[in-house]
Structures are given as C-alpha cells and as structure tokens.
C-alpha cells in the first residue's frame, strides 16, 4: 500500500513540475544564437608578436571585431550605433586598436587583447570632410607616439597613450578638401595634400611635433580632376582629369609642384570606355580599372608612366604590404569560372610572383570584393602570405596555402526580411531498426533522466544529461515534425543572398546568391526588398515544393524597375526570375491561390497601376471574380496623405497586357502638414488567426471584438517633434493615434497625446494595438493600448436569441455599414526605449498573447498582454480578479526572468518575427540584427504537451509497477480468500 501511495504521489510530482521560465540547464535546448559582424570594410592584422594571432576588422554594420586568425572566431566585438559608422581602423603601439568613426569626429582606442575601451576623444571641427587616419610608427613627441587624424576639416595630432589632442590645425577657412596625409618614413614632416574646388592643388607642409605650418604651396590644375587620387609614392600622386581620358601625375618636392599629363590613349592603344583609378595603395604603381580589365601602370622616378600589365579577370587588389627589408608585396585576385586565383606580386618586380594559388570556391559566393594580405615566416624561413577575402555575399574567408582555412557567413548580419517554410514530410519505413538498435541506449538515457529529476544524479551524470539533451538529433532532422517546431527559416540578406536556416540548430541548409539581385549593366544597384511565401502546398499540390518570392528593385528610389525571383525552399534553386518593366512600390498578397497553389500577388507600381502575378490565365480568372472586392491603401508619408484605391480596368498604353490594371482613388485623408506628420503605420498580420470574437468580461457580460483585417493604425506627430527627444518642448509636441478602416477610409478612432514624442513603435493584433512613445511631461517612455469593440453585435447576449437564431453573428460584415464601435485605451509607463515590438502568434489563436519587446539593450522581453489591458483598475472587483485582471499600476513591470533572450544579446537588434508552431501553445520566435536568435515560446506554458524532458521511462515503470502490484495483491487476496474458505 505504501508503495502505491508513494508511486501515485511521485506521478503527481512529476507532472506538476512545469516551467515558468527557463532554467539554467535548459539554455540551448530549444534556442540558438549566432554572432556575426557584417561585411568587412577594413582589416588590420596583428601577427607580429607571439601569442594569439588575430585580425581586427571594421564592418559596414558598424562593428569592430577582433577575430581569431586560426578559426575565425570572435575574440571580442563591439557594435557601435547605427549613426556611428567606422571610417578607419589601425593598430597603435602594438596594443591598441584605433578607430575613427562618425565622419572623423570620434577617435577611440580599444585594448587589443580584450577589447576594453582605453580612451575616447571627440574631435571638433567646423565642417565635414573626408576623414583620414595615420598611425606613424616612428613619430614621437615627448616619448609619446602620435596619431595623426584628419577629420571635420582639421588636422589633429592625438596622443596614443591617453587620447589627448596635442595640437590641431584647421583648414576650414579655405574650403580645402583633403586627399592624403603623408608622412615620409622617418621624418618629422607631414604633408597634407588636397584640392580647393576641383582645380587648385594645395600642399601643406607641417611639423609633426607641434603642428606648425612650415610651407604652403598651391598650383592651379587646368582641367580639374575626378574620382580617386592615388598616392604612388610619398611625393607623387596620380589622378584622372575631369573628362576621364587623361592621367595627371603630380610631383611635389621641396616646394615645387609639377604636373604631367598623359593621355590614356597614348599608353594603351585600344579604347577603354570609362576608366577609374583603384584606391589601393601599391608601391610605385597604380591600377586603372575599366569594365572589362585592369591595367597596372608604373610611375618611374622621372614621372613617366609605363604600362606594366593588363589583366582581364581581376576583381580585387590589396594594398601594398611591406615585409622584410623594405620589400613590398600586394595581392590580386582573378576569377576564372568557379576558381579564384590569388597572386601575390612583389612591388618592384612585376614578373616575379611570390605566390600563385588557385582556390575552388562554392559558386554561391559571387565575386571577390576585397582582399587583405598578411605575411608570415614559413617553417623553411621563406615568406608566406595569407589573404583575407571579402566576397560578394559578404562572407569572409581566410586563404592560406591554397586552401580556405575558415569562412564566416557574415551576410547573415544584414537580414532584410525573413519568412518560414515547412520541411518535407517524413518518408515511411525509415527508423524502426534504428530505434531497436538504440533501445538500450534509450533506456539508459531515460534512467539518467529519472535520476536527474529525482536529484540523485552525480555531477558527471548531470553533465551527461545536459550533453544528451543538446545533441538529441531529433530537433535537427530534415523532416516535418508532429509539433511543427522544425521549419526552415528563409532569410533575405542585403547582399542579395537567400539563406535557409534550420530552426532546430540554426545551421545553413542551403544558400543562394540570387543572380537577379547582382550588379549588372541593366540593374546597377539592386537591393532586395521583401520575401513572400509564393507557394505553400497543402491541398491539391502536395507534390510540389514550396517556394518563396523575392522582390527587389534596381535602385533605391521607388520608381526604379523591379526584380522578381522565385526560389524553391527545399532545394534552394532559383525556379525563375524576371526583371520587370514596371517598378514595385507595394506588394499585396491576395487571399487566393491558383490550382498550383501559387499565391496571387498584386504589385503596385509608382504610377499606381496594379500588376497581377502569377501571369497565367487561371489567375486572371480567379482575380476577375473578386475584382470589385479588392481595396488597398497607399501612404505618402512626406505629403501626409493616405489614399484608398480600387481597381478600374485593364491598362491602356505601352505596358498593356491582361495582367495590368488601372486603379482609381476612392478616399483620401489629408493631414495638415503644419501640425501633423506621419511617422508610423501598422496593420495586422495577414495570417493571424483569431480564435474567438467574443470576450467574456467580469460580470458574465460579453463584448465583441471588432476584428477587421482592414484596420490601419497611423501615428502622426507634430513636425517639430520629429527630431530626437529634446528637439521640442512639451507644449509644441504631440502625437495623434488613428485607427482607419482601409476600405472606406473611415477614421474609427482618433486620440491625441499631448506632450508626447516619437519615435513610435507599434504592434497590431486581433482588436488591439499597442504603441510605445516618449512622454515629455513625465520624462518617461510610455506604452498605450487601444482596444476596439463592436457595439453593433453587443445585443446578442440573450441566450434565447441565440437559440432561436435571431442573432446577427453570422451575418457578413461590410465596411460600408455604419460603424458602432467603442474603444478603450490606457497608458502605462515603461522603463526601456524600444527597438522593435512584435506579438506571439499561435496556430489557433487560443493561447494568450505576449508582447515581444526588443529593448535598447538588444534583448527581447516577453510581456504578458494582460498587463496592457485597458480595463485594469486600481481595485478590481472579485469577478474581475477571477477573470485574471491585474490591479492597475502606473508602470509595466519588467520581470528579469521574462527575458526571452536570457543572458544573450542580439546585437544591433532590428526585427522580431513570430511564427506559429503546429502545437497551439507554442510560438516560434526569430530575432535578427547583427546576431541571430531563435527560440520557442509558450506564453501560457505548454499546456498541450509534456515537456521535452518528461521521463517516459518513469511513467512506464510506474505503470508496470502498478500492474505488478495489482497482480500481486490480487493473487494474495485470492489466496487469502481460499484460505478463509477452507477454514
């Protein structure tokens, strides 16, 4: 009997242990985190000293990072703000990394081994200019190494030990544009060369010790210059004139400035087209790049130019690197088919290659964009070279001895858009044998788990359990699972590469560099815009693979021609692509699919014409049926106008085909520009599922949520309050929130927050919208909630009406009916500023919702929606308490355990994507920024499944024990009965 009681209670205990938040040992079970740095702009090697070899890089995501040269791992990393772009980096004193950022106004020194900031200097100057950083090795002022910085229109000398500005010289007065700051090796003189306007060439000779201006010469340059100015040696510059056909060599020496002009056509016989000078610093040479080939031209001591070589497939050239005894080498990279050839040449002798290697790359990396070289001493005392190359897809590779030592997929640091795709269904008859084989292992594992739950496990066993959990191969399988946790995350990056990541462990399943989003003659600056689910097979196209649609455009302005590309999400192959004749301003997903399960999309161009995709007659047929019921809106934020549109008829004109439609405007809202400016517009997610329309409130009353897919939430602010916080006084700043029906243009709700300030982040779900802004009067951030309820259905409370069918619940809702809505709203203080807000979404919408707030600390906070209930009151009644209403507080609580990202940071957080899993209780959350983070969330805990570490063996054992106990007691009682009867 005692055993039974014990087992029963044990069973109870094991089921009642549910997780409120994450325990320490659950980290990494269902979440993963990946760190990236972005496309490398500049790299400095640090390999001289013994110890760890590293490379310090600055990137386009404003990251400064120190990478392990052996494995490519990050030693340390700092993400500077989005408005603090890094211009130059260098290493000073062999122990400090110097960064110059924010257009040459902030100079920082970071400790090389651990990345601590040592000092920071703000350079002030009157105007913007090119920023240059020069760290001379030998220049000393009072035993202090000096860093020479040109920034903000002035030359600064900064102490490298403590960052103090030693001297400063402004060049602002003469509207001088600096090109180079030169320090000849071993001298105390600095030359500052540049132009005034485009024709006057100036050389300033300065004393590096005290900033004294020694000499100033200028000479007029007829014809002007254009493009880059290449520094060939310490006193020779080469540039192109403004027509681009003549090379100008400038020699300045001891106060004399000599110009020498050479026609390119004299050097090379054939015509070049547009030529540009490469900015790479090569010793005694420069490189001239045309669209098809690259020409290397040497400048002789007399200032003569002579063509050294002409190479066809060169894509990148490194700077010259000086290694032993003043010898200088540089690398150039050529492309042949899928191979790249890395050649390291000695500066002085062209024909001797120090190194020539060919490396096979996978074809999804595109061209080499940048190359940086570093030398080392081989075991046989000869010089070896390693090269760091930056590819078109923003990945970073280290090449050494003809091999790829490591590779970083840093394109993933710049995710533009993300969507998901289902994995293939598991094929029958695969795993039975496997399971039998591992039965013993399985049992052993479960016994370990029991020990763990009963807290009997020894420390080693705990480690074993942890390892077992982490490597459970179940979660990284390439097939669909019952709970819908395993999916493919399809992400589009800035480089035009599409990646598929597995949600189980975050590995890259496939990647594809879209050809249509690569630079070409017709499309010179293509950018990806969005990803859409093009085909989600579920009904009659089960055998088809799902695919996504990538929409891009050729230039950044909205009237540039668009680009479409279709990608199969199972294979990662491009199914097709098209460059469009029209532009893409807006993409509207229509809720219809054709017989191939292709989703109908409507693309709106800059001339407000609608184009239907896919272009097949069937799609037009489906479309024509719903022709008059398609409405959309457009927001012209600069003009402060929101317009509603409908379709009219087929296009007439140059692009007319049956898939193009003219549109007409049916409503407009004109915000007065002097008092309101649109800063945020938010709509509901199209695929959101709402479980119930009715909300039962405390006193057994029912309110009906106003659920419309066509609601648009718009926030306008006072024009003065569009700047940063502090740009407007509370009296002259306000914020107006609007709820607009986007079919009829009706304003359902309009509310002014006086003394409030942007930026505004908002999220819209079901019948509520939550938005975050700054309250200038209270000096705090605030979050407001608006809930909107339908009054026209409010009289459906009578049970008899429902029974007799006299209710209007099933009648269709029309936007043209007069609206009877009521809104409830409430504001709460919130501690953090916010980078993004999202809301969890689940499969059926039953589970309660959590707001996911990307905080300024790059973490994600999960906040229960119940805290943002407009009906919260100070003293809730008993009934309201039973409903789960939280008493009113003035600020929203931040519970440390409710950070979804626990101890991790998603540096540079930009967006949060939530996707429902098949299991109702669970939502998948993908957070992207410079880093990527993925986890599963269960806002109301996993009420519909056992936790992953549930001990099935314990349950089994209990059942077996119970059955045995039943049999034993039965036999015993039988025996006893028999005994009694014989008595």
């Amino acid at each position: 009997m005692a055993i039974r009681v014990f087992l029963i209670s044990l069973l109870f205990l094991s089921t009642t242990i549910t997780t409120f938040s994450l325990y320490e040992d659950q980290v990494g079970l269902m979440d993963w985190h990946q760190q990236y740095i972005g496309k490398v702009k500049d790299a400095v090697f640090h390999t001289q000293k013994t110890g760890r070899k590293r490379v310090v890089v600055s990137t386009e995501e404003n990251v400064i990072a120190s990478l392990d040269l052996r494995h490519g791992e990050i030693f340390w990393r700092h993400v500077l703000g989005s408005n603090d772009a890094i211009d130059r980096i260098d290493i000073a004193l062999g122990k400090y990394v110097i960064t110059l950022s924010s257009e040459g106004s902030i100079l920082r020194a970071w400790n090389l081994p651990d990345g601590q900031m040592v000092w920071e200097s703000f350079l002030k100057g009157p105007n913007h200019s090119k920023s240059l950083l020069l760290v001379p090795t030998s220049l000393k002022v009072d035993k202090d190494n000096v860093i020479i910085v040109f920034g903000k229109g002035g030359l600064h000398a900064v102490s490298s030990i403590h960052g103090e500005i030693l001297w400063q010289k402004d060049f602002a007065a003469e509207s001088f544009e600096v090109q180079h700051v030169i320090q000849p090796l071993g001298s105390d003189i600095i030359y500052v060369v540049g132009f005034v306007g485009s024709s006057q060439f100036n050389v300033y000779q300065m004393n590096a010790k005290n900033g004294e201006l020694l000499k100033h010469e200028s000479a007029a340059l007829s014809g002007g210059f254009s493009g880059e100015v290449s520094l060939v040696s310490s006193n020779t510059l080469v540039m192109l004139d403004s027509t681009g056909s003549t090379l100008i060599t400038v020699n300045f020496h001891n106060g004399e400035i000599n110009f020498q002009k050479t026609d390119i056509s004299d050097l090379i016989k054939e015509s070049l087209g547009m030529a540009t000078i490469l900015p790479s610093k090569l010793a005694g040479m420069f490189a001239l790049k045309t669209t098809t080939f690259m020409i290397f031209i040497r400048v002789t001591d007399e200032g003569k130019l002579e063509v050294v070589d002409k190479i066809n497939h060169v894509t990148a050239v490194s700077d010259a690197l000086s290694f032993s005894e003043g010898q200088q080498a540089f690398a150039l990279v050529e492309h042949y088919n899928n191979d790249i050839y890395l050649t390291v040449k000695l500066g002085q002798e062209w024909n001797s290659d120090l190194l020539k290697e060919s490396i096979k790359l996978d074809d999804q990396r595109g061209l080499v964009h940048k190359v940086f070289i570093n030398n080392y001493i081989r075991t046989d005392r000869s010089h070896g070279f390693r090269a760091l190359i930056v590819m078109e897809d923003h990945s970073l590779l280290l090449l050494q001895q003809g091999e790829i030592v490591w590779c970083r997929e840093d394109g993933l640091a710049s995710v533009i858009d993300a969507t998901t795709s289902e994995l293939p269904v598991e094929k029958e008859g695969v795993s039975v044998a496997k399971v039998e084989e591992n039965l013993f292992e399985w049992l052993k594992g479960h016994i370990l788990k029991i020990k763990g739950t009963l807290m009997l496990a020894s420390p080693e066993e705990v480690v074993n359990i942890q390892a077992m959990r982490l490597k459970s191969s179940e979660k990284s399988k390439m097939t669909r699972d019952h709970n819908g946790f395993r999916k493919l995350l399809i992400v589009l990056t800035k480089s035009g590469k599409v990646f598929a990541l597995h949600t189980g462990d975050g590995r890259i399943v496939w990647s594809l560099l879209l050809n249509s989003l690569r630079k070409s003659e017709t499309c010179e600056n293509p950018t990806g815009l969005n990803l859409y689910q093009w085909r989600v097979p579920h009904h009659h196209a089960m055998d088809e693979n799902p695919s996504v649609l990538v929409v891009g455009r050729c230039r950044s302005n909205s009237d540039a021609p668009g680009v479409l590309s279709f990608v199969d999400t199972y294979t990662g192959k491009e199914l097709g692509s098209s460059s469009l004749v029209h532009s893409v301003v807006q993409v509207i997903l229509l809720p219809f699919t054709d017989s191939n399960e292709q989703r109908l999309h409507l693309l709106i161009d800059a001339k407000q014409r609608a184009h239907l995709y896919p272009k097949n007659p069937e799609a037009v047929g489906i479309f024509q049926r719903e022709f008059s019921n398609i409405y959309w809106y457009s927001v012209e934020a600069d003009d402060g106008i929101i317009k509603g549109h409908v379709l009219k008829d087929n296009c007439i004109g140059e692009v007319s085909d049956e898939y193009c439609f003219e549109t007409k405007e049916i409503w407009s809202i004109v915000f007065p520009l002097e008092s309101e400016k649109i800063i945020t517009t938010v709509t509901r997610k199209l695929n959101e599922v709402v479980h119930t329309q009715a909300k039962v409130i405390a006193d057994q009353d029912v309110m009906y949520k106003y659920i419309s897919k066509n609601l648009l939430f718009v926030v306008t602010v006072a024009p003065k309050a569009t700047g940063g916080i502090g740009s407007a006084t509370p009296e002259e700043s306000w914020l107006v929130a609007y709820l607009i029906d986007s079919v009829t243009g009706r304003i359902l709700h309009r509310m002014t927050h006086h003394g409030s300030h942007g930026p505004v982040h908002a999220v819209f779900s079901e019948n509520w919208v939550v938005y975050h802004y700054f309250n200038l009067r209270a000096h705090r951030y605030e979050m407001s909630v608006i809930e909107i309820f339908d009054q026209s259905r409010a009289d459906n409370k009578d049970v008899w009406k429902l029974v007799l069918g006299k209710h209007n619940l099933t009648s269709p809702i029309s936007s043209y009916s007069r609206l009877e809505v009521i809104t409830k709203s409430q504001s709460y203080f919130f501690t953090h500023s916010v980078k993004a807000i999202a809301v969890t979404s689940t499969a059926k919408g039953i589970t309660s919702k959590q707001l996911l707030i990307g905080t300024v600390g790059d973490q994600v906070l999960a906040l229960d929606k119940r805290f943002l209930d407009p009906r919260r009151s100070i003293n809730p009644t008993q009934a309201e308490k039973e409903e789960g209403m939280i008493p009113l507080t003035d600020s929203l609580p931040i519970i440390p355990q409710s950070y979804v990202t626990h101890s991790l940071k998603v540096e540079g957080l930009r967006g949060i994507v939530t996707v429902p899993a098949k299991l109702e209780s669970t939502a998948l959350v993908f957070v992207y920024g410079v880093d990527l983070f993925f986890t599963r969330l269960a806002p109301s805990r996993t009420y519909d499944s056992l936790t992953e570490d549930f001990s099935y063996a314990l349950l089994l054992m209990t059942i077996v024990a119970l059955v045995v106990a039943i049999f034993v007691t039965w036999i015993l009682s039988e025996k006893k009965e028999l005994r009694d009867k014989w008595r």
Binding site: P672, Y816, P887
Partner: protein, 299 residues
C-alpha cells in the same frame, strides 16, 4: 494634488470643448432663404457640366438648425462636390459654419455646422441609377482647408451607391477636423449595408443628410500613483491571498487519502467478520462483504 485637480479640470474642459459636433435633426423644409446659399463659391468646373445650370436654382432639401446668430461675421462656407463613378467632380451642396476663435492660443474651430444639399438633377438621377446598376462608387469630396479651399488637396470619400437608397437617399457625413483643416470625411449610409448589396431604387430622390463634426479626443493620462498608495496597494495584495476552500486546496491529497482509508476500513471490516464467520456462519458476512461470492454459496 492641486496639479492633478487642475489637469483633471483641463482635460474635462478639453473634452467638453472638443465635442461641439452635433447631429443635425433634419427638417425637410424647402427653404428658399438658403436655396441661394447652396450656390457654390467656386466657379471652376462649372462649364464642364451642363447639369449644373439646373441645379442651383432648384429648391434644395436643407438640413439645418435654427440659430439666432447665424449671420455672424465669422461665418464661412465650403462646398461639397460629388462625382458619379469616374466622372468629374461637380458641386453638390454647401456646408456653412461659424468659425470660432478661441481666446487662448488663437486656435480656430468650426461650430454650428449646417448643410444644404442640392437636389439631383435629371441627368444626375440617371447617372446615379447607372451607378446603382453597376454597383459603382458615388464619390464626394471636401476641401482640406475651409479658410482657403481647396487647401493642399481635397479629402475624398466614397461609398457604393447601393448603400444609400432607403425611402429617400440617406447619407451620413462625419467630418474630422483639426482646427480649420479637414483631415478626412467619412461618408456613407447611416445604417447597415450588408454584402451582397441589393439593387434598389429610392422612392424619393431627396437626401436625408446627417452631419457630424469630430475633433480629436484627448488621450487618458497615464495614472500616476503616489508612492505610499502603491505601497499600500502592494501590501494589501500580499496580505490577502485568494481565499480558497480547504477542499479546493487539498483535494489531490484527500482523494488518495480517502481511498487508503476506505481500503483500510474494508480490510478492518474483513478482520472482525473473519472472526464472526467462524461463529455465526457465512451468509451474513458474505452479504456485507464486497459482493456475494458464488463460491460461498456453493459451499
């Protein structure tokens, strides 16, 4: 405390002041006095539509309220224009209102709005019927600034023509104002307009107009609790935990306990009966026991 009271007063003041919108109770009087008022002030597009010539002298159905101070010097007018389907906009009526300048801040708002609608001309009736047949849009527009029409742009609104006809033509305007600017006009039927829309001709070709003027609402202030109040509240919450009955709290322990006790009792009852059977025979004991066992009978 004082500031809170003041702010409360302030918000009350603002709230009350912002609801100057009124719902005009329509008077179906042919009002000759206002018939001329219906003449639109803007001359443009006049020539474009020949129907216009007929429309201005016809007596109009006017929705208005009698105000004693209607001829105030700050009276302004702006015109409503309409279009049938894709046609050009032509004047269809006139709004007149009083422009009130607030003493503080110099902010101007409209009050006492009234509307006079031009009746449909024959051509317009035909156009409207066409719209009804085709389930097309009947569009209206207002200037976005009432002082210097049309302001930056017109604010446009439209409705499916089939939503309007009832006995007459029922229309409902909600004009959203910001000072002297019109942000938006929401135009539609005053009642429901379920989809699919039925084709129905109006019995009377006259408009029943309702107009509402709306200004922005003031957002509720974030509640600010004094420190002690919050403390009290927090403590109060902590002191009284949700009261649950003994049974509700411990049922999960009680049921197994009950089972055990039951089991024990039956066991215990068996014991004396075992002794009893020895003396008084089996029949009685068997009846009390878990069930009459056939084995016992057989014996």
């Amino acid at each position: 405390m004082k500031t809170r009271f003041l702010s409360f007063m302030f918000s009350v003041f603002l709230l009350t002041s912002s609801f100057h919108a009124f719902q005009s109770d329509e008077l179906l009087v042919d009002d000759g006095e206002f018939g001329l008022e219906g003449a639109p002030p803007q001359p443009h597009q006049r020539s474009s539509d020949p129907a216009y010539i007929r429309s201005s002298p016809t007596p109009t159905t006017t929705t208005r309220r009698k105000f004693s101070d209607s001829d105030s010097d700050s009276k302004i007018q702006f015109s409503l224009e309409h279009a049938f389907g894709d046609s050009d906009f032509v004047p269809a009526g006139t709004f007149s209102a009083r422009l009130k300048t607030w003493s503080h801040g110099g902010q101007q708002t409209l009050t006492k709005l009234r509307f006079s609608r031009n009746a449909f001309t024959q051509a317009e009736k035909e156009n409207f019927e066409k719209l009804l047949i085709g389930d097309e849009f009947y569009r209206i527009r207002l200037p976005s600034n009432v002082l210097s029409p049309p302001g930056r742009d017109y604010v446009v609104s439209s409705v499916k023509a089939r939503c309007l006809p009832r006995e007459g033509l029922d229309e409902h305007f909600v004009i959203h104002m910001e000072g002297v600017n019109i942000l938006a006009v929401n135009y539609g039927a005053p009642g429901a307009c379920p989809y699919p829309r039925q084709m129905k001709l109006p019995a009377k070709w006259s408009f029943n107009s309702h107009t509402v003027l709306k200004n922005s609402e003031q957002a509720p202030r974030t509640p600010v609790f004094a420190e002690e109040q919050l403390g009290e509240n927090g403590e109060g919450e902590a002191v009284k935990p949700p009261e649950r009955s003994f049974w509700a709290k411990y049922w999960m322990y009680l049921i197994p306990l009950g089972l055990i006790v039951m089991n024990a009792i039956t066991q215990a009852m068996n014991m004396p009966e075992e002794q009893a059977t020895g003396q008084a025979g089996a029949q009685q004991g068997a009846a009390v026991q878990r069930g009459p066992s056939p084995a016992v009978r057989r014996r």
